[in-house]
């Protein structure tokens, strides 16, 4: 971005060479051709991981949760870490599609579709963990307040019940929002279909969209409303997830800073995941003309900002632990920094606070390899943030007599791998059957054909 006189010259959001026809052709290409070798490689890795995870999970259901590394003080471990991690991942999607939409950030158009898809799949993945980590998952439905003859009800004081509502609401709204946004594009895909079955499916999915002015009118209003509905959810979901910890009495969990801290962390990790995914998607589906370095740079900037927010939170936690004078709190933070799980704390600190600082440099911000590695490191760092919070508070709580250590087993790791497989399998299938870029929105911001009429665009 530069300023010339009174005019702001911005980098084009889409390669200016592209025509409207190019958009349709490029975006729909993965849908209409046999998958490429790159896609197959990714898909086999993803589904293979899913298979490993499922096999291990099946064995876990058969034998019991004992196969995990959990023990008496450490009742939650890798699984709840994964839950919070995946919910966090989901955040960037809603943020990009809803909040940036309300703020009229046009650069969102190229990435919002995939980011939303990521949200959906991440929330689905996250939703698995609270269920499978229960001792009796076949009764996990008891967490829903459904009418039953036994007149049993849920405990509305428990943050886990709040979680159920927060996550399911979030999932429902995100799904609707995503689907509504997809309708015009599905109609475009329908119109290009040659195969009858394919055409039928897309016809059903496009809900009779014909692109009439009235359709557009309703669409715009519905989308705006859903965007407005989703926006508070971005903040509420992770706030409520953070209540799982903040409402308890454990030192290191019982902290008022948690809601904003978790939201910032969620956006941070969400953007890191979007960057990771888009770097791959640009490559695999050849979308470099639409998802430009400008998009990536913007996301890196957000990561820089949120990274510093979480960094602030980390330091503030330490400060408050010292300042409050609470001996348990002090101990737990000293234990995080220098105790048996210090390695996890320092992974978190390095990846989340130090690594994003490289984005101060414009050249690095715009370098695909650097941002790819950085985004991966941030994902790892954010995973360890949750791990640190959960495990270090549990393993040494109030009575020193029950202190213990926690060693995750191959089941913990394998099922975590399986969750990545689950997520990526869905994501890759999505890339094959639905347009990964909101075609109609991209067209709206293209300068193509507008110049002649004198700078109608921006």
């Amino acid at each position: 971005m530069e300023i010339r006189g009174n005019k702001i010259i911005t980098e084009p959001l889409v390669n200016p060479e592209q025509t409207y026809a190019d958009v349709n052709a490029d975006v729909c290409k993965p849908l209409e051709s046999f998958p490429t070798k790159k896609w197959w490689v990714c898909f086999l890795i993803a589904s293979g991981s899913l298979l490993i995870g499922s096999a291990l999970a099946t064995d876990m259901f058969r034998r019991g949760l004992g196969v995990l590394g959990l023990n008496q003080p450490v009742g939650w471990g890798v699984f709840i870490t994964n839950f919070v991690f995946w919910i966090g991942i989901g955040h960037a999607g809603t943020l990009i599609s809803a909040i940036l939409f309300l703020f009229r950030q046009k650069w969102r158009t190229a990435i919002n579709r995939s980011a939303e898809a990521m949200t959906i799949f991440a929330v689905m993945t996250a939703g698995l963990f609270p269920v499978i980590h229960t001792g009796r998952p076949w009764y996990a439905f008891w967490l829903f307040p459904y009418p039953n003859q036994r007149e049993l009800w849920v405990n509305f004081r428990s943050p886990l019940v709040w979680d159920v509502f927060a996550v399911s609401t979030y999932f429902t709204i995100s799904l609707l929002f995503w689907y509504v946004g997809l309708v015009p594009d599905i109609a475009s895909v329908r119109d290009r279909c040659k195969n009858q079955i394919r055409k039928f499916i897309y016809t059903v999915l496009s809900l009779g969209w014909r692109g009439e002015a009235r359709h557009w009118n309703h669409y715009e209003m519905a989308y705006l409303l859903l965007a407005a509905l989703s926006t508070p959810l971005v903040l509420s979901v992770h706030s409520i997830v953070s209540f799982d910890f903040a409402v308890s009495i454990l030192p290191g969990w019982h902290t008022t800073i948690f809601p904003p801290y978790f939201v910032a962390g969620a956006i941070f990790s969400g953007f890191a995941m979007v960057v990771t995914l888009l770097v791959i998607a640009r490559e695999v589906f050849n979308l470099k003309n639409y998802i430009t370095l400008y998009h990536m740079e913007n996301m890196n900037k957000i990561m820089l900002l949120t990274g510093m927010l979480v960094g602030y939170a980390y330091l503030m936690e330490l400060f408050i632990a010292w300042y409050s004078g609470n001996p348990y709190e002090r101990f737990i933070f000293a234990n995080r920094v220098g105790g048996p799980f210090a390695w996890s704390y320092w992974i978190m600190m390095t990846c989340n606070v130090i690594v994003p600082q490289i984005f101060w440099v414009k050249k690095w911000r715009r370098s695909i390899p650097i941002m790819f590695v950085a985004s991966l490191l941030i994902n790892i760092g954010m995973w360890f943030e949750r791990f640190t919070i959960i495990v270090t508070s549990l393993h040494r709580d109030f009575l020193p007599s029950s202190w213990d250590y926690y060693i995750p087993t191959r089941y913990d790791w394998g099922i975590t791998l399986g969750s990545f497989g689950f997520f990526f399998t869905f994501f890759l299938i999505f890339c094959r059957i639905l347009p990964t870029i909101a075609m109609f929105e991209v067209k709206a911001i293209m300068k193509f054909g507008k110049k002649e009429y004198g700078e109608l665009g921006d």
């Binding site: 949760l65 004992g66 001792g135 967490l143 428990s158 040494r396 009575l399 020193p400 007599s401 029950s402």
Partner: protein, 998 residues
């Protein structure tokens, strides 16, 4: 030519035309047209439909019907759902405490202490309570048989009786020697029977041998006072106790009785608190409870005792014995200065100790020493001298009643050894003892036993000894047969059977009677003997018998003894040990395993050692200084060798241990005990040596102690030992307490709250635990486990940190590393008013009830484990596996363990949380009974399982809403506090501050 009888159907057939020839033997004149079927044939359809039916039927198949049939003729005394209690006697060690056995629907499921018993007074130790599990041990022999090379061939009792009878008759005829080798038997009737049985064999002998027998006490008494007895120690009269290595709270003589009496002398509220000083070479349970602790090299206890005598007699010239030149001259080399130089103890401390002893003369007791300790006889004589010059003799140490625990005689054993070597034994009958396992290596018993032509074992399993025998004649479990016991002179107790023998076993006594040709049966024999020799009263015997069965014991009138005079000549038997500089290995019987007889008991295996908190193993304890010197870390495996034996053991660093001592428990490393106990830990018995006619396992000189480079993980239930300055343990000293009962108190500020408090209209259950009284013996843990169907998880799971004990005893160290103070704290569900677990459970599986209990509803529990995370006391236990049903776990339910379970509460399934309920079922039962009788529950009517068995009465349970109840008085006691009060959880469990006698 056509036969007249030929019937024809058509003209064609008659004329046998070509057409006809073709159709002969065919069903249809023209072949049926095969239908063009494109879809499915009828047969195919039927096949699939059949399969479909079958599959759908298979899916809806019911489980096999298991019929239950009610009593047709209900036994009068059995009401389903109502427990019957029978008195009996504990046979887990020779202290023979009084028991009551709870039976439900005809099966014993729980044992508790008999409150009326004059010795144990209602207490029962961990081993005693775990005894019931031995009855249901699946690895017991199911019947008698012949044993060949350790293989069992089952046979009938009749065949064996005939076979063995013939062989015995042959031996009797040829004058061969029959030796009956038994454990320490205190049963007068069994002894009588044995005498009668052996009478037939001219050369026969009864030898008794047990690994832990206080023979040196009896010998010491014989030398000092001329009576070969084990005197009775009366702790209730003792204000000052000096223990020179005697673990009287853990394993020494009669720990339950002693703990009970000891704790009664230490109630700070009564303004009197006895003082306990321990001088030890291995850290015992008693040592951890000492008010002051001196650690010495093994064998130096004698010197300490003599130096004290020297100070009193020679330096201070106090006692009337000062005149006795024989004594004073003997004592001359034992001045405190010299002894302090030799032992490294501070002279000041010894002088103070001598002073204190003299101050408390007549009201103190001096105990020595560890059984089978180094130079044990010398120590006993020195102790006898001290007790005599302090006038304790006849007051706290009395000859009547005397204990019958020293039944064994090493002389007999050595004689037997010689006989075996010479091949002089024709038949060896072995009952209740396991010499192959528990004798020293150089005894070579396993080879010697094979020379004996007839070896019969009465063991309930093919243990190390029984597998080398020729015949296994398994005796009944004590819960299956009659027996009696005579723990101290004048006290006789009965063992009642509470169940028919589970297997085809027969009591040892019945077997002897059968071989003797006596057809009366053991019960009649026993009863007759009681009538003839034991009962001294005037009542009708039958009435007496009924009454004794109900009370469980019979006490004869005895004349209290007076002070006996010490014979100075016995001092000549004190041998002087000088200048031992090398490391000394001391073996000891552990609190949970004693001599290893119940090594197949999963409860005991999983019971953490009171001090080290190690389960499922023995190890080599080593002092921190020594470990540092040798650069040893916990869990490192070292190889230790003495003159007799060498072994590899993992290291455990034990603060307070003398730096020249290394210690290891006996009772582990069994090879043939069963699926639970086989190869758990290492057998240390072979280290024992025979010295001056004594078996000795204390202070064995270590020839080498080397690192092996191997590592081994010990399954510890508590890995951190300090309280980190948190308000968990509160303590004060007795002096401070007397000045200000609230000294040492710390209370959290009470903050205002918006929330209404729980209201309790009826009862409000609460508990008080006295940290001053608790000695950390772990009895309550087994009581709880037995009462509440608490599973056993096995070593691997303990290593991960998944032990399931609802009640645990936390042990904390405080103060300097080499001699820290030790505090025990029983920790169980605190039933908080503001329970952190209750608010976080999403499905309301844990709730507060209207009597103040925090309830866990198992069948509502989904298993999120949030409650456990949020519990600041970490007393909730999660079923990570199906520990009761999964075959991978030691106590999984199989025949006959299923009969052990308490039917009053469920066996929790996999995936649910469980925790202490304050013995909900007992509360329920008492409330029901009170309701039937139209009254409210009385104070003391409900005893929780932990409270019932506590030998020191440290636990009190009751109604906090009743201002007169003991528990509500204790709650208001100035000593009362809550653990981590600053969290405002407001527990129903009040801890009473520990008062130390500093």
């Amino acid at each position: 030519m056509i036969n007249k009888n030929y019937y024809w159907g058509s003209l064609d057939e008659l004329h046998q035309t070509a057409d006809d020839q073709e159709s002969v033997g065919k069903e249809f004149p023209s072949p049926p047209q095969e239908q063009e079927v494109t879809e499915m044939e009828r047969r195919e359809f039927l096949k699939l439909m059949g399969a479909g039916f079958l599959l759908s039927a298979a899916v809806s198949c019911a489980r096999p019907v298991e019929k239950i049939i009610p009593y047709v003729n209900k036994p009068e005394e059995i009401t389903p759902g109502i427990a019957n209690w029978y008195t009996s006697t504990c046979m887990e060690c020779s202290a023979v405490c009084g028991l009551i056995v709870k039976t439900r629907e005809g099966r014993p499921i729980k044992v508790e202490g008999n409150r009326d018993h004059p010795l144990s007074k209602g207490g029962l130790c961990a081993r005693g309570q775990a005894g019931i599990l031995n009855l249901y041990d699946p690895d017991r022999l199911k019947g008698p048989g012949r044993v060949n090379q350790g293989e069992m061939q089952e046979a009938s009792w009749t065949d064996l009786d005939r076979e063995i009878g013939q062989k015995l008759a042959q031996i009797a005829g040829s004058g061969g020697r029959v030796v009956l080798l038994t454990g320490a038997l205190t049963s007068p009737t069994t002894k009588k029977l044995i005498d009668e049985f052996l009478h037939r064999f001219p050369n026969s002998r009864h030898v008794s041998f047990e690994a832990v027998v206080p023979e040196e006490i009896a010998r010491g008494q014989e030398l000092s006072y001329g009576q070969k007895i084990v005197p009775h120690y009366d702790f209730s009269k003792a204000d000052f106790i000096l223990s020179l290595g005697a673990d009287f709270l853990g394993t020494w003589l009669s720990p339950v009785e002693f703990a009970k009496d000891f704790s009664r002398g230490r109630r700070a509220e009564k303004g009197k608190m006895s003082r306990l000083v321990c001088v030890e070479s291995l850290l015992s349970l008693t040592g951890t409870n000492a008010d002051s602790y001196l650690s010495v090299r093994a064998g130096d206890e004698t010197k300490v005792a003599l130096s004290l005598a020297h100070e009193i007699l020679v330096v201070e010239q106090k006692s009337s014995w000062t005149e006795n030149k024989e004594i004073t001259s003997f004592l001359s080399p034992y001045s405190i200065e010299k002894v302090s130089q030799e032992t490294g103890l501070e002279a000041r401390k010894l002088k103070d100790l001598a002073h204190d002893l003299w101050q408390h003369r007549g009201k103190g007791v001096v105990l020595g020493g560890a059984i089978k300790g180094k130079n044990a006889l010398s120590l006993q004589i020195a102790v006898n001298l001290l007790n005599s010059i302090l006038d304790n003799e006849g007051k706290t140490v009395v000859a009547t009643p005397s204990s019958n625990q020293a039944q064994s005689s090493y002389a007999d054993l050595l004689h037997l050894h010689a006989d075996l070597k010479n091949g002089n034994v024709s038949a060896l009958l072995i009952y209740k003892t396991n010499p192959v396992y528990s004798l020293p290596a150089d005894f070579d018993f396993s080879n010697l036993i094979q020379k004996v032509p007839l070896v019969v074992s009465f063991s309930d399993r093919l243990d190390e000894t029984a597998s080398l025998s020729h015949y296994a004649c398994p005796a009944n479990n004590p819960f299956e047969s009659w027996d009696d016991a005579n723990p101290v002179t004048g006290l006789f107790t009965l063992v009642q059977p509470t169940i028919q023998p589970l297997h085809n076993t027969r009591s040892f006594q019945d077997t002897l009677l059968a071989w003797k040709g006596d057809m009366r049966g053991w019960f009649n024999y026993l009863k007759n003997n009681w009538q003839a020799t034991i009962y001294k009263g005037t009542q009708l015997f039958e009435a007496f018998w009924e009454e004794t069965l109900q009370t469980g014991f019979y006490q004869q009138e005895t004349i209290p003894s007076t002070a006996r005079s010490f014979q100075p000549s016995s001092l000549q038997h004190i041998s002087r040990v000088n200048g031992i500089k090398e490391l000394l290995l001391t073996l000891y019987p552990s609190v949970a395993h004693y001599d290893g007889r119940s090594a197949n008991n999963a409860w005991l295996m999983e019971l953490p050692d009171p001090i080290t908190k190690v389960t499922w193993d023995n190890y080599l304890s080593i002092a921190p200084q020594k470990a540092e010197e040798m650069n040893l870390k916990e869990g490192e495996v070292v190889s230790i060798s003495t003159e007799n034996y060498s072994l590899e053991l993992p290291v455990l660093i034990q603060p307070r241990l003398h730096e020249n001592s290394v210690t290891a428990a006996v009772g582990f490393g069994r090879l043939n005990v069963g699926s639970v106990g086989n190869k758990v830990g290492r057998n240390t018995y072979p280290f024992q040596s025979i010295k001056d006619g004594f078996l000795e396992w204390g202070g064995l000189p270590v020839q080498s102690l080397q690192k092996t480079g191997k590592h081994y993980r010990l399954a510890v239930t508590q890995g951190h030992h300090r309280i980190e300055g948190r308000p968990i343990i509160q303590e004060t000293t007795f002096d401070e307490f007397q000045k200000n009962p609230e000294s040492g108190a710390w209370h959290a500020q009470t903050l205002p709250t918006f929330w209404p408090r729980h209201e309790y209209k009826g009862y409000r259950w609460g508990m008080a635990i006295d940290l001053s009284a608790c000695i950390g013996c772990n009895g309550c843990m087994v009581g709880c486990q037995s009462e509440n169907n608490v599973p056993v998880v096995g070593k691997e799971q303990v290593l991960i940190g998944r032990d399931m004990h609802w009640l645990r005893i936390d042990r904390y160290y405080s103060g300097p590393e080499d001699n820290p103070e030790i505090t025990y704290q029983p920790m169980l569900c605190q039933h908080c008013e503001n329970a952190p677990c209750e608010t976080v459970c999403p499905v309301i599986a844990t709730v507060h009830n209207d009597e103040g209990l925090n309830e866990q509803i198992y069948n509502r529990c989904v298993g999120t484990r949030y409650c456990s995370n949020n519990c600041p006391y970490k007393v909730r236990r999660f079923n990570y596996y199906d520990f009761w049903r999964d075959e991978a776990y030691p106590l999984h339910v199989r025949e006959p363990i299923d009969q052990l379970l308490n039917p009053d509460l469920t066996v929790r399934s996999r995936g649910v949380m469980e925790k202490c309920t304050f013995c909900m079922q007992r509360i329920r039962q008492a409330k029901d009974q009170a309701k039937d009788e139209g009254r409210s529950v009385k104070d003391g009517e409900i005893l929780t399982a932990c409270q019932q068995s506590c030998p020191t009465d440290a636990i009190v349970f009751g109604d906090l809403n009743d201002p007169e109840s003991l528990v509500s008085k204790l709650k208001k006691s100035p000593r009362g506090y809550h653990v981590i009060e600053d969290l405002n959880t407001q527990p129903q469990v009040t801890y009473l501050r520990k008062v130390r006698n500093a």
